[in-house]
Subunit: 449 residues, 2 copies
Amino acid sequence: MKNTIERHKETYLKELEEFLKIQSISAVRAHKSDVKKGAEWVASSLKSMNMENVEVIETDGHPIVYADWLHAEGKPTILIYGHYDVQPADPLDLWETPPFEPVIRDNKIYARGATDDKGQLFIHIKAIELLMQEDGKLPVNVKFCIEGEEEIASPHLGPFIEENTDKLAADAVVISDTSFIKEGLPAICTSLRGALAMEVNVKTANTDLHSGVYGGGVPNAVHSLVRLLDSLHREDGGIAVDGFYEGVPEPTEELREEIARIPSDEEAMKKELGLTSLFGEKGFTFKEQTGIRPTLELNGISGGYQGDGIKTIVPSEATGKISCRLVGDQNPQEIYEKIEKHLLDHQPAGTTMTVNQFIQARPVSLDSNDPMIQKAADAYEEVYGVRALFPKEGGSIPIVEVFARVLEAPVVLMGFGLPSENLHAPNEHFHIENFTKGIETVCTYFKSL
Amino acid sequence: MKNTIERHKETYLKELEEFLKIQSISAVRAHKSDVKKGAEWVASSLKSMNMENVEVIETDGHPIVYADWLHAEGKPTILIYGHYDVQPADPLDLWETPPFEPVIRDNKIYARGATDDKGQLFIHIKAIELLMQEDGKLPVNVKFCIEGEEEIASPHLGPFIEENTDKLAADAVVISDTSFIKEGLPAICTSLRGALAMEVNVKTANTDLHSGVYGGGVPNAVHSLVRLLDSLHREDGGIAVDGFYEGVPEPTEELREEIARIPSDEEAMKKELGLTSLFGEKGFTFKEQTGIRPTLELNGISGGYQGDGIKTIVPSEATGKISCRLVGDQNPQEIYEKIEKHLLDHQPAGTTMTVNQFIQARPVSLDSNDPMIQKAADAYEEVYGVRALFPKEGGSIPIVEVFARVLEAPVVLMGFGLPSENLHAPNEHFHIENFTKGIETVCTYFKSL
């Protein structure tokens, strides 16, 4: 197996480069046809390896690609999910080589989407192709469900899953869109935080006012927003919104130990990020704060004069962006309403306030003892010589919770990225060693089922 | 006198239009030669009316124009101050006619600088010309000191005054750069607040961080700044900086009554500005808050993601602009240091902070009982049939305090603008009635001395 992969490696990489050249940026309207090209490229790959029922399914946004091969009687059915869309590439001037002209340097392939998620998705395409070439059939039943809207929070895939439970029914959903702990130390993520985002806008007068003439006598939109946003946190770093922590599970000793086993070097991280100190809710470690505790972050703020020097105005408008990471049974809609209520309860006098909700995703927690997850860990161990750990990730992949809940199937987050691979940033890349070993791991896993 | 002015009115307005066409925007480097043209235009006007010792004095910024006529033996010497520079004109698209193409509509002249201060300065030029034409001499000794940097806080005029006390020595400084209370109700401002401005910048990590991966565990620059800025005010609207109110005089009953006599319609103002309520320090009226009390305003804020929608980052940098209006014995430098100390004392953990100081100006209070001021009020009464009131203005004209302190002379703030004339805003204009009556008032005043 390993030798076959080595023999095909150059061809695989050439194909991956073709995939990476497609500017399938889902967030940017001008790239709509490029995103479609991405879908068609995936569909064409799946067809060429004899997948059946290959479809490019249009949505009100970008298409979903479906394919299956269901002739492994008595064997489990695996739904493979991935996404062919990518993040925007700006700031372009920070890329060493252009984001859509893939280049191999130091055994890494550089391009937007290299690790997130085209490279990781392509592992599955090549693994299935290889298994099919070896035996003319597959050791498991396979369904592909590949979307083009992951980077914009999957607005159409959720409903699609809900409406196609029979078509998508599976014994496990396998996703490669996460990372190792570090090089050589694989991980199967078993928890993702939920997410919630909103914007609050505060207006006072109908125009900015002269601070000499009106200053001290009229409400100030920036001051009002600053007071309002500061009220969201307690002095000790906790979140002051009434009922915010309802549904947040108290971590068991076992969970805390499991988390503590994940290696991390906070001093090195602080140094790398230029931080003089960390911050967060008292009584929890950094890994707990970022893995199993909910957050409320201010993502941005603007109001009044922002140019050089000073403009002595009383500003009339200011806007803040707020987002949360959620855990346990926190429901994004309920949390949104609690925050909205807090903002209304604390609305400064003399202001009009509007709150807009953006994305939301429920948190998800997966059972690391599920056999489908344990067998994936076995496969990693066989290929890498190290058993995968089960970290709790702080990020959100909204669709994971939907798969788990609607299809009632275990989700196996078999990541092959590395945390250092600049996902969502300039110079994104993917380690070719994990690409080839990834194919080997997936083949091993599917054969073991 | 009145008839002579009426007869010359068209000529005067044609000349004023020439003056208003000069784009003497002191804040914009690209207009440096236009500002110089403004100085030369003023100098040439002064020469043509037989002023003596006319000089265009270069500074490290824009020039100061000086001229005098000192042959009124036994009579007081009046120093006339004004400024030939103007505010920037943007946003240009809100002007009904171009800012530097003066137009007369409804007996008002529209152009940038019409009321602030070219139109008001030109009153004095024409008044002196007229007095000279009438008698071949003047009823008082006159010095002109006209600057081109008022709109950028007069960085060079202060030192110039300090270095030229003999040259500028006078029995009164007369300035027309303020406003009536409202149409038909003249005012001699007897108090200007001081000013102080600064910027505070907060940095946390060396880059914005992914809120999923780091959120809840690292300091957030926007949250840090919001907390820091909110700490500057007390819950009740007062300013929380230690020692801020030192040197702020308790208003006497007499002063409060004087202020209460200035007519104002707060309900109408709220309606016009679209405000649902006013705001400010408890225990003071709006006119007191904006006239004789100090303020600390947040003029602007920015940090993190400010575009549409959301970007789930932990922002690494945020900046706020702060300015104060000062009264009584508050010293701008000392107040700056107190605020800086407050910011340092409240610096959130895990942040690096820088504070930059911009402008500063001391507050000034003038004695409304000074005979030079009372005679100006007499002149208004003679021309307008209404005696001028003595309001406390909330704005700052930094150089007024320097004139008063360094030359030890009463400063007479004979304003001829109206509060509705859009100074510093699009569609600035000046009422022609106050231009012609202004010339009459100034002539009457000088004759009375």
